[in-house]
Subunit: 466 residues, 2 copies
């Protein structure tokens, strides 16, 4: 067992390099020995970095049960490759051993022909369950749940419950939280194995079950569901349909995956990138171009408006040339202060810390922060201009009026930037858009235009420009 | 039970408003009835929004066991308030019922005098365990683990194991994964309650335990540990000391909290904000100013260098005034393309998708993306300048040479931005800094300077400026 992340990753790399040799020299039993001592997730990772033709011989070395566990962790391109080399009976063996939610995850990444083949070789119960889950909209609780859970009836004793758990445990992803339903499958409560272990064998489920439980609807957003795990510290959350009938459960490991996925999506949107499901290392240059170019084009076109503002003040700039040199500092500071506010608000919205109704409080808070920040920046900048640029470097272009124009623009820019930065994400959320889109790049473009307008307006008045 | 996030939050708000009335009118039993049907996390949330003087009467209404559960979910300011109103015996009751890792979380937020009082009223075993955990460095696996787990010995039968679990379950945070140790407490393997339920009563632990298990060291970074949960889909991970002796376990709910915390920290750093533990809604304007101003000052000062570049080309700008109007577009595009690259790389590093050794591949990928993006932007911009600005609007300042200068600068700026954007975070990581600091604002500042230098250099040559 490797001790640190780096060692683990290095060991996997070394092994990946050696595997073609093992295969070429038919050292199968040695390789099998090494693989069976590894964790399924690590073997899955390893297989992702093997040459395509090494995949089937390595996979066939794995004992059946381990093979199915490993299959879940292989990346989807390699999964597809493998499936294409499977005989029908091999495919059936792997699919039979998979949990339903894992099968659904795999199916969602496969082309239609492969999906058909998988469904054909799943047994009829499983096919039914898979099709049920596939019907739920992408990103809904229904689409991330599993239908493999233990359900109990109120009339069961603790002994009955243990019998039922023992009888069905092999096929269930999690058995530690059991759900109690009535004859119409309506969700009544929850009993944990811990509760069962701490009760007498003759106690009734109805007497030990917890009835005040958290649940979600099939149509709830998967991000909302994932956040409930973080909020309520539970290992599973039951999913009910519109009639409050239990249809499945979401498990903590899927919730964790959802949190990581959704956060990556948010971060990408904040940086003006269209999100995809694939990791960076699997994306080609063309994929990356497609994710990035629409936003760059949009933002480039918007930035030309800022250029138009500069053009319309060309005369003013020509008469006091030094004004041009402050443009980058004013634009950058506006962008930075604006994105501080917007990113903070976006993250707080997605963590459930703030809502639209808090908007007045938030604007008022940001106004005070803006005055503090703007004031500090203006004073620092004024000191720098007068003491460093004017007195020390003897730059005669810097007059008291110019310094005043720059510093008062700073305060107003920061104020506008913070207010725009905190309001746009909340308005986006209210209108049903993803607030993450209203992050740095958008705010920067808007604030650029605002700050230059403020700058030239103040300059025109203070420096008496025409 | 409320169905959606919004309803839940509205119900809590309504209740919070009514509570002072309940207390003023001494309608205690009604209020108690309402509270005992709520989830501890929701009650904790509710108490965070109550006026300080309502806290103690509401808390005293809760049945003892629920009170301790709720206490964990109250925000730390309100916790401190409450503790100050507790009698010694009340404090002891609450602390006795807390899990050790929760107690440590609470203690870490309290001032020294309160910590002393808590430790004084914890029983001596618990005090010992708390002190052990407190000794581990912040952000280490040791600091987020709990010492409450079930340990088994190889010689136990399944029946012995169930007896031990039943006897100790009440005090343990999780009982479903038990760890097997030898007489020196060295970690040997893992047995789940599922394994136990599926075995015969007379089977030996040594025969059913899984020996190839994931574990971490007390000194491992907590983010690394949290990522292991996402990678290996396990509900708990054992923590061992330097001698491979089992000292604690980390549970999935703490891992989820770590993931959320660390991501928020990363996002804040990416937006040039110093991270804190408190949510936005709990921070004052002054707190926010402290988190934001150092970066703004630093970035403002750096941006003045960009201004100096403009100053040194004042003459060139004065002779071809239209050049000034493209500055915002070039700066923004450079910043946006650079932050796309840096944010993608930062996220991929923290998800473990890429490492320093992949740098050549990544630079080469980003170079190709840059040429694709830069090319697209340049062609679009050229078409816009010649067709829209020159032909349609009849802007005589736009010549073929000017368009060439702007468009070739675009390509070079995008190229520099992508390369700088992808390399700096990896270098930061290699040098032991947090790559997240190398996100948009820093990249923007550097790329601004680079793009203006490229711009003026090309302009000087192509337009024959002096």
């Amino acid at each position: 067992m490797a001790d640190t992340e780096r060692e683990r990753s290095e060991e996997l790399d070394e092994l990946a390099e050696k595997i073609p040799d093992y295969i070429a020299n038919r050292r199968y039993s040695e390789l099998k020995q090494i693989l069976t001592e590894m964790n399924p997730a690590d073997i899955g990772d390893l297989m992702g970095s093997l040459p395509t033709k090494s995949l089937p011989p390595v996979f066939r070395l794995l004992p059946k049960e381990l093979a199915s566990e490993v299959f879940v962790y292989i990346d989807s391109d390699a999964q597809e490759q493998l499936i294409s080399t499977f005989s029908d009976s091999e495919l059936k063996e792997v699919v039979d051993d998979l949990y339903i939610d894992d099968t659904v995850d795999i199916i969602e990444e496969m082309p239609a022909t492969v999906v058909k083949r998988i469904l054909k070789h799943a047994d009829s119960d499983m096919r039914l369950e898979i099709n049920k889950i596939l019907k739920y909209p992408k990103d809904s609780a229904g689409s991330v749940m599993t239908t493999e859970y233990v359900d109990l009836k109120t009339g069961y004793t603790v002994e009955d419950s243990f019998l039922r758990i023992r009888r069905t445990a092999v096929d269930k992803e999690t058995i530690y939280t059991c759900y109690v339903t009535d004859d119409n499958r309506k969700l009544l409560g929850r009993v944990t194995v811990k509760d069962l272990l701490l009760s007498e064998y003759t106690d009734k489920v109805v007497d030990i079950m917890e009835t005040n439980i958290i649940y979600v609807n099939t149509s709830d957003d998967r991000e909302y569901v994932a956040n409930m795990f973080a909020r309520y510290d539970v290992p599973t959350i039951p999913v009910v349909d519109a009639e409050e009938r239990l249809v499945g459960i979401v498990t903590f490991d899927d919730a964790m995956d959802v949190i990581l996925d959704e956060t990556t999506e948010d971060i990408e949107k904040m940086a003006a990138i269209s999100p995809t499901d694939k990791p960076y290392s699997k994306l080609t240059a063309l994929d990356l171009w497609k994710k990035r170019i629409p936003w760059l084009l949009l933002l480039m076109i918007s930035a030309t408006f800022t250029g138009m503002i500069i053009s319309s003040f060309e005369n003013a700039l020509a008469s006091v040339v030094v004004l041009t040199s402050f443009i980058p500092m004013l634009m950058d500071t506006g962008g930075n202060t604006g994105s501080q506010a917007s990113v903070t608000v976006i993250r707080s919205i997605s963590l459930g810390d703030i809502e639209f109704k808090n908007m007045p409080i938030i604007i008022w808070k940001e106004v005070r922060v803006a005055l503090l920040c703007g004031g500090t920046l203006a004073v620092t900048n004024f000191a720098k201009l007068m003491l460093f640029d004017k007195m020390l470097l003897g730059n005669s272009d810097i007059t008291l009026s110019v310094a005043f124009v720059v510093c008062s623009t700073l305060v107003l820019t920061v104020l506008c930037a913070k207010v725009i930065g905190c309001t746009l994400p909340m308005i986006a959320k209210k209108l049903g858009f993803d607030p993450a889109v209203m992050a740095s790049p958008f705010i920067t473009t808007i604030v650029d235009a605002v700050s230059l307008m403020v700058y030239f307006r103040i300059a025109t008045v203070v420096l008496h420009l025409s």
